[in-house]
């Protein structure tokens, strides 16, 4: 079950990175009053409408020896970025970006502005206000963002197909593996893997939602 472990590893890495990168973006989108905000909102939402193959294709170009990211990678590590786990992570982060940012943004926006004012007047700077007021009150949104990013990455196929190169243990995720089995007419193996994936995913999601219900406090954010 190499492929399964790889898929989970990818999903975990990507979700973690998306939380770290996505929160500042979501924060800015929620609280900025810049007129051009809609531009960034559109860019963030792009991966929702682009076919994964298109995204994967452009990611491959960017990671290639002539692309900006590829050049940097080669300079730093001496080899290309495509066909590596890091390459998958990069492409997947792009692909799942809106799935993390949008729930976070909505959650942040939902926090009563008066609470933010109160925090400021009581001497808390932006960081402390974020950590102690915004984040705790946005907890449901954070969980949603995390779960969506994780699940979305787990099921990814098109992007991985474009940039992975199908290397066992490195870029052969479970979705690619199932596809390979189908291509080689090994329907039995494909079926077994698919069922295992479904069962584990369902278990993980179920656990998260169950825990989330108990953790959610019934106070309203308003």
């Amino acid at each position: 079950m190499d492929a399964l472990l790889l898929s989970f590893k990818l999903a975990a890495c990507v979700s973690a990175i998306l939380m770290i990168v996505g929160m500042p973006v979501a924060y800015w989108l929620a609280y900025s009053s810049w007129r051009g905000k809609f531009l960034l909102e559109s860019v963030v939402a792009l991966p929702l409408v682009l076919p994964p193959t298109v995204l994967g294709f452009y990611a491959l170009i960017a990671m290639g020896p002539r692309g900006p990211l590829g050049k940097l990678w080669i300079a730093l590590f001496g080899h290309g970025m495509a066909f590596t786990f890091a390459g998958l992570v990069f492409a997947s982060v792009l692909y799942s970006f809106p799935f993390a940012v949008q729930p976070l943004m909505v959650s942040f926006e939902g926090v009563d502005r008066k609470l933010l004012h109160a925090s400021a007047v009581l001497g808390a700077g932006s960081l402390r206000t974020f950590w102690r007021v915004i984040l705790p009150l946005s907890f449901p949104g954070v969980v949603t963002a995390l779960v969506l990013s994780f699940a979305h990455t787990l099921g990814e196929f098109g992007v991985v197909l474009m940039v992975g190169g199908n290397l066992a243990g490195v870029t052969r995720t479970v979705s690619i593996d199932i596809y390979d089995h189908v291509q080689s007419l090994e329907y039995g193996a494909a079926n077994r893997m698919a069922l295992v994936l479904m069962a584990i995913s369902f278990g993980v999601l179920g656990l998260v939602y169950a825990v989330n219900r108990r953790v959610w406090t019934p106070w309203s954010a308003k």
């Binding site: 294709f57 066909f83 190169g165 199908n166 291509q183 007419l185």
Partner: protein, 263 residues
């Protein structure tokens, strides 16, 4: 850049727009390596008979599964004769129409600006330190991939290069990997190596005896809606003109009496 775009999109089986021309139309499923050859065959056939040929390119294994599940093609040009044979045995093909239209050849290909002189080095090119990734088609289900692995083993370097291999979903994606520079070398179909987007690269043809023959066969499908037109196109491919076109694009034509011989 645009050439690569074309290569990728078409070879990942984005179907062509449906024809609006009057007269008949046939739907052809063709292996990825036929991209350029089939284009010319189809155009010439249409000019001569008025029948439009709509071609979808992809991996033979993929098409096989789809056809088994009722995909509405009239003709299947497989890169592996085994798929065609299986369809015939399974009753999904018109009996007696199986035709081995070409024998595929593989080459080692490097981008034009590569420092590696692959024409001189041959197999040693793959051992060069600057070659970090070598793209081949997936040997699990692509005949060109299987041939590449067989040839590598015959050349005695498979163990050494295996860690460097990356697998394309079909031979076209393998070609795209190396064309875009993400892989520094690739073992790809001759027909793709001499095609317009790739002919400026450096290549070395792998001797045919180093791998089992890549017998490529076509077959008319039982589910075909336009059987007569399909047979007509197949006859066209068999004709002198058809064979000349295939040869032009890097395919070796087997002797006529080897049509449906076991491999």
């Amino acid at each position: 850049m645009r050439a690569v775009l074309k290569c990728v999109f078409v070879s990942l089986a984005i179907s062509l727009s449906s024809a609006r021309a009057c007269g008949q139309e046939i739907a052809v499923a063709a292996a990825a390596d036929l991209k350029f050859a089939m284009g010319e065959l189809a155009a010439n056939f249409e000019k001569q008979t008025g029948t439009k040929v709509n071609v979808t390119y992809g991996s033979s294994g993929n098409f096989f599964s789809q056809i088994q599940n009722g995909a509405p093609f009239d003709l299947f040009f497989s890169a592996d004769v085994e798929y065609a044979k299986k369809l015939e045995a399974g009753g999904q093909a018109e009996p007696g129409t199986l035709y081995e239209y070409a024998v595929g050849r593989i080459v080692i290909w490097c981008p034009g600006d590569s420092k590696v002189e692959v024409a001189k080095e041959g197999w040693n090119a793959l051992l060069d330190a600057s070659v970090q990734k070598i793209a081949i088609a997936n040997p699990g289900h692509a005949p060109y991939g299987r041939a590449a692995v067989a040839a590598l083993k015959k050349a005695g370097i498979y163990e050494k290069v295996e860690p460097k291999l990356v697998y394309g979903e079909n031979i076209s994606q393998a070609a795209q990997f190396v064309q875009s520079g993400n892989a520094q070398a690739g073992i790809i179909a001759l027909s793709l190596a001499i095609s317009p987007p790739m002919k400026d690269g450096k290549s070395w043809q792998v001797p045919a005896e180093m791998h089992p023959a890549i017998e490529q066969a076509a077959i008319v499908l039982k589910s075909a809606k336009h059987k007569d037109a399909a047979r007509a196109f197949l006859e066209f491919v068999k004709s002198k003109e058809g064979r000349a076109t295939l040869e032009k694009f890097g395919f070796v034509i087997p002797e006529p009496d080897q049509g449906s011989s076991p491999h």
